[in-house]
């Protein structure tokens, strides 16, 4: 039989002597059983077990020794805590619906496709991933709240949903709610309007796991913040897990009350950073395999080199390449990827003005803009002028008379003649064709 009182004494000792975060991180997740004069300590993972053995075992031994006549023997195991009356901070056994929705229209159910199994980890997110795993395995016992922050499209929602899905897998009766902050705001507003605050509170306070996404959206909404503060306190005090995501560090969120940001930081705060090149490649390879269109590593490298900011953008680029290949019935190579992403990769959509065309062409041929607009008809000036007119027709929506007017008050037929001349010459003169392409590209980008 496990000696509950002896272990309780240990817990009590560490609770008194250690800072709460250390106690919650290392001691609380442990489970102790006494079998055949041996004390079996079960830790959730090797990391916690090692810390226990290195740092806390001497103290545990001392406490146990005091009540025993002989030296205690310890055995160490890795595994999950089992539900027992002595561990009240485990999810309750008797629960109702897996997901209760205040409003079916707005509340999201868990998305089963976002799981830990398909979350690609790397240097940028390994800490957040480890913390999320811990929380999913031991909800309400270790890091509460878990606060995950980072830029757009870096996988915060994926982690949030993964926690929910794992908890649901382990305990199908758990009451889990994934809610985007804007929907939480709508719930508060609706509760005010319909005077159903008791229902609102009852719903949120009865959850075993609250996953709230993009908390920064409650900034400058004092009513919602107040309600969220109560919800947060109530859940944390009853050891129910709360996981929050945000686009920034708690202390840096503007427009949110200090008491709330300080509550955000009292559990564990972890960041997700933008993925590095190798991680981006790994994400692309995995994503394409999931879509049943595995791409080659060289293609993944090509995309990853050009799309750097976030995962959502990477997926967008991959989807565009798949759509392109499907439409043109081509294999996915670096070349087809280049073609498919041509417009996606253009950094900005520059509106080309006729003045810009005149200046670029004049600079290119080492002329002055005024010469381009003059009446001079020598070849060295007339040809660049024709080139500029042709580019103006291609790159602007101006009418031919407007283009002619911008080139020193010329007639629309002069513009038409210039365009025809350049089009003919491009087929005959490679150098001129190359100049035209270069100027065209320069002006577009």
């Amino acid at each position: 039989m496990p000696d509950i009182s002896l272990w309780s004494e240990c817990l009590h000792f560490f609770e008194e002597t250690l800072p709460p975060q250390q106690f919650n991180s290392w001691i609380k997740p442990l489970h102790c059983e006494e079998i055949a004069d041996k004390f079996i300590l079960t830790a959730p993972n090797t990391f916690i077990l090692k810390v226990i053995q290195d740092r806390f075992l001497p103290e545990i031994t001392k406490i146990v020794e005091r009540s025993l006549t002989k030296k205690p023997q310890f055995e160490f195991k890795i595994g999950k805590r089992t539900v027992s009356p002595s561990s009240p901070k485990i999810l309750p056994e008797i629960l109702v619906e897996p997901v209760i929705q205040i409003n079916n229209k707005n509340h999201s159910k868990l998305n089963g496709s976002l799981a830990f199994e398909n979350f690609v980890t790397g240097k940028a997110n390994q800490l957040a991933h480890a913390a999320a795993m811990q929380v999913a395995n031991f909800p309400g016992t270790i890091y509460n709240p878990l606060f995950i922050y980072g830029g757009v499209g870096l996988g915060k929602t994926h982690l949030l949903q993964s926690i929910g899905n794992l908890v649901k897998k382990d305990n199908s009766q758990a009451k889990i709610c994934y809610v985007h902050a804007t929907n939480y705001i709508s719930d508060v507003v609706r509760a005010f309007q319909t005077k159903k605050f008791d229902e609102f509170k009852q719903f949120y306070n009865s959850l075993d796991l609250l996953l709230i996404d993009d908390i920064q959206f409650i900034a400058d909404k004092p009513g919602t913040q107040q309600e969220f503060f109560y919800t947060l306190n109530s859940l944390i005090d009853s050891n129910k897990q709360v996981v929050i995501t945000c686009d920034t560090f708690p202390k840096e969120i503007s427009g949110i009350e200090a008491r709330l940001t300080s509550r955000f930081s009292c559990g564990l705060t972890v960041a997700v950073e933008p993925p590095g090149l190798e991680m981006r490649v790994a994400i692309l390879l995995q994503k394409s395999a999931t879509l049943n269109h595995p791409i080659k590593e060289e293609v993944a490298f090509f995309i990853a080199k050009h799309v750097r900011s976030n995962i959502r953008e990477l997926e967008g680029a991959l989807n565009r390449i798949l759509a392109y290949a499907k439409f043109h019935k081509e294999n996915i190579t670096v070349e087809t990827s280049k073609e498919a992403l041509k417009d996606l990769l253009s950094a900005q959509n520059k509106q080309v003005s006729i003045e810009n065309i005149q200046k670029t062409v004049a600079d290119f041929y080492r002329l002055k803009v005024i010469e381009l607009l003059s009446k001079k008809r020598t070849r060295t000036i007339a040809r660049p002028r024709q080139m500029a007119m042709c580019l103006a027709r291609e790159l602007t929506q101006l009418s031919l008379p407007e283009i002619g007017h911008a080139f020193g008050g010329r007639d629309h037929s002069t513009v038409l003649h210039a365009c025809k001349t350049i089009e003919n010459l491009r087929n005959l003169d490679h150098a001129l064709n190359a100049d035209f392409n270069l100027l065209n590209q320069t002006l577009r980008n």
Partner: protein, 206 residues
């Protein structure tokens, strides 16, 4: 020169002259027929390139397929099976949050979201399939003008088309606007469309 396009002309995906936008048109049709996994689109390009036509055409097609569909410009409409938000630059801060919310909602519910704007994707945080609407060449514009005239029930001679393309602003809304004005002018005078009548219309519109 900006002339209103006649209200009895309805932009559809079928009367969109694709030019270099065939892949985009096909992707939209696939999404509407549920053969395309990606449900979010950002369609960008310069004024007059055909973004509004595509968005309104997609809404029209969705409705004929029995889907709920909403189109809005400068605001975010309520969720539907297809939602098209035109000119995303016009959205204020609150509307941008509403759009983000709608984006999440559409992703969860499997609905289609079409967003259009002038900005290149580097400036935008919403993701999905991204397409730049490529402007039509003069030949394709001529084809679009022919089709438009046919839809309105009048014949457009190559001379009139050529004159319009040489002398008018060459973005499609302006060209179609002139064409509509020409049609009305011809009906009033009970004469066939010709270059002299077109000149009159263009002179009056300046």
């Amino acid at each position: 020169m900006l002339l209103g396009i006649s209200p009895d002309w309805i932009p559809t995906l079928d009367n969109f002259v694709a030019g270099h936008n065939a892949e985009l048109l096909s992707a939209l049709n696939l999404a509407l027929n549920k053969s395309q996994a990606e449900r979010g689109f950002y369609i960008w390009g310069e004024t007059g390139s055909g973004k509004t036509h595509l968005l309104q055409g997609a809404v029209e097609k969705a409705r004929t397929l029995g889907l709920s569909a909403e189109y809005a410009r400068g605001r975010v409409p309520a969720a539907a099976q297809l939602v098209a938000v035109d000119d995303v630059e016009l959205l204020d801060d609150a509307a941008q949050i509403a759009l983000f919310d709608l984006y999440n909602h559409q992703r969860e519910s499997g609905g289609i979201l079409l967003v259009s704007g002038m900005a290149a994707p580097a400036h935008l945080q919403l993701r999905g399939l991204i397409y730049q609407v490529q402007a039509l060449s003069d030949e394709e514009k001529a084809l679009a003008l022919q089709q438009h005239a046919q839809a309105r029930g009048f014949i457009l001679t190559p001379e009139v088309t050529q004159y319009l393309l040489r002398h008018g602003r060459r973005d499609l809304p302006s060209l179609l606007g002139v064409l509509d004005a020409l049609d009305e002018h011809c009906l009033r005078l009970k004469r066939a469309a010709s270059v002299p009548l077109l000149k009159e219309v263009m002179r009056n519109a300046v």
